[in-house]
């Protein structure tokens, strides 16, 4: 076992055992960490689309909202078990993302804002289709995560284990794609799409796959959130915050790295809630804005690469 793997094993152990052991009794801290990890989950999905697919999205709330409503409705109306409904919600988010395929032809800001338009459209549809979604009133009393192997996944520590596992799976999947030939081809497509196509790469298809994968991840995270907060309404489920915060987190941590989005999300969320909020009770998000602007100006690759460079 080399040093890197050893470090990784220690980190994994600490994540799974140490965190719940230390903070397990403190619902507040666990709650904050879970909220931060939810943002981290979307941030990974966003970074995957941004880094591998080369597409910046301003509307990941669309997938998040669809995933959360899908899982809530599957469990409430059809009586599906929560743990089955969650992956299904991811697939339904993929289904909805298929409606965005025409947007893949668009570049840069056009794609970003087209996805934002989708998020708005989905929000309005969720409000208008009240026979299914109960409209603006929203859904309450959504089932919580079940008890599995004697662990109450609905408890704070249990939910923590679920979200950590989801994140680990996402990162593993992301790492695999990135290392594969698909990842190499995707990397090549950013600045040289035509050159990549004429050697046989179906660039649109690859991008579509990244969109699907990103939508799936975000949908599953949305479903997880629905079952932990037990409540949904269109303005909340499709709220701009689900699009914005993960972007800030991913950029902050370094969106081209695997762990950057997670570290970014933890930093941003915890600093904001524990520090900025006590310094500036109203409008503390101004500090987030300042932080983001400073990062882009002075460390555009994010925190993680900055840190690595210093220690290289």
């Amino acid at each position: 076992m080399n040093q890197r793997n050893f470090l990784f094993a220690v980190l994994l152990l600490a994540t799974y055992v140490l965190v719940p052991a230390v903070f397990g009794d403190n619902n507040y801290v666990m709650g904050l960490i879970i909220s931060a990890l939810i943002v981290a989950g979307i941030a990974i999905a966003w970074a995957l689309l941004g880094n591998l697919g080369g597409m910046v999205s301003f509307g990941h709330a669309a997938f998040f909202g669809v995933g959360s409503y899908a899982s809530a409705l599957l469990t409430m109306k059809l009586g599906w078990p929560v743990l089955l409904a969650m992956p299904m919600a991811g697939l339904i988010a993929v289904l909805f993302s298929a409606a965005m395929l025409p947007a893949l032809r668009l570049s840069g800001p056009y794609f970003a804002l087209a996805i934002l338009a989708y998020a708005q459209i989905f929000r309005i549809l969720a409000t208008e289709m009240d026979w299914l979604t109960q409209g603006a009133k929203g859904l309450s009393r959504i089932p919580t995560l079940p008890v599995l192997f004697g662990i109450d996944l609905g408890s704070r520590s249990g939910s923590y284990l679920v979200i950590v596992t989801l994140l680990a799976a996402f990162i593993a999947c992301y790492a695999w794609v990135r290392r594969s030939h698909y990842g190499t081809a995707l990397r090549a497509m950013h600045d040289s799409e035509q050159a990549t196509r004429v050697v046989g790469v179906n660039s649109v298809m690859l991008k579509a796959w990244m969109l699907f994968l990103s939508a799936f991840m975000t949908g599953v995270i949305g479903a997880f959130n629905a079952h932990t907060i037990n409540f949904l309404e269109p303005d909340y489920a499709f709220g701009g915050g689900w699009s914005v915060l993960p972007i800030v987190a991913a950029i902050f941590g370094g969106y081209r790295t695997l762990s950057g989005p997670v570290i970014g999300a933890l930093c941003i969320y915890l600093i904001d809630q524990l520090l900025f909020k006590s310094l500036l009770p109203t409008g503390h998000q101004i500090m987030l804005g300042v932080l983001l602007a400073a990062m882009i100006l002075f460390a555009p690759d994010g925190l993680l690469p900055l840190f690595r460079r210093r220690h290289a």
């Binding site: 090549a188 950013h190 600045d191 040289s192 050159a195 196509r197 050697v199």
Partner: protein, 237 residues
């Protein structure tokens, strides 16, 4: 193996290629010549699927590929290079070839990649960043290497020899002959220099104003009065 039938391309009302028909066999090496703006590159773009003709057909290996997108044509065996080299950015030279092989040929074969690198004298540069770490000559060789890695049946080379000094050009020509012989593939090559093309290709096609004005051995073609007129520009002056 390649057959163009009555291909016509228009850009904003102007015909770039007019009613071009052409056949070439699987082991031929054909030169495509003509003055600037004659439609040579446009013809390449039609063959490789980057430009849609307003009418006409492209058959490859007896199959109509008109409705196949560019990447599928690459997989079918149509490899091409660009006049201005287009390496795949953010990738090393070797990765360029790996992607081309994996997606163009549908398989991974490191030995063959080594062989191509060796053949095009890129072994030393294999680990360099393709977009930023290569000189122009190396970039041109990488263009050919990438196309070869897709294991094509027909190679479309767009001015790969232009801009090279005499020594480099002779070397490259040898490489092309070697490629042609070793992999038994057809080559259609755009080249300006009459001398070069005459020594390289047993058959030459001349394009002017989007139309084929001559097709034959270099001897026949370059003695054709129409070709001479177009080359000396008598009519255009």
């Amino acid at each position: 193996m390649l057959e163009l039938a009555n291909v016509t391309v228009q850009f904003g009302g102007l015909s770039a290629v007019k009613d071009v028909s052409l056949r070439m066999g699987s082991d031929e090496m054909v030169g495509l010549v003509g003055p600037n703006g004659a439609g040579k590159t446009t013809l390449f773009n039609v063959i490789s699927g980057l430009v849609k003709p307003i009418h006409g057909r492209v058959l490859f290996d007896g199959v109509d590929v008109m409705h196949e997108p560019d990447y599928k044509r690459a997989r079918l065996g149509l490899g091409r290079t660009f006049q201005i080299p287009q390496p795949m950015h953010e990738l090393t030279v070797r990765e360029n070839l790996v992607v081309a092989q994996r997606f163009g040929a549908g398989r991974v074969d490191a030995a063959r990649i080594d062989e191509i690198l060796e053949l095009l004298q890129l072994t030393e540069q294999a680990g360099r960043d393709a977009a930023t770490g290569l000189a122009l000559q190396e970039l041109k060789r990488l263009e050919v290497a990438k196309a070869l890695a897709t294991e094509p049946k027909l190679l479309l080379l767009d001015e790969v020899l232009a801009g090279l000094e005499t020594q480099g050009k002779r070397l490259f020509m040898e490489k092309l002959r070697e490629v042609h012989a070793r992999y038994r593939i057809g080559i259609l090559i755009i080249e300006h220099d009459i001398e070069t093309i005459s020594s390289l290709c047993p058959r030459v096609v001349v394009l002017d104003f989007g139309q084929i004005i001559a097709d034959g051995t270099p001897q026949q073609v370059f003695n054709d009065p129409a070709v001479i007129r177009s080359y000396t520009g008598v009519e255009h002056a």
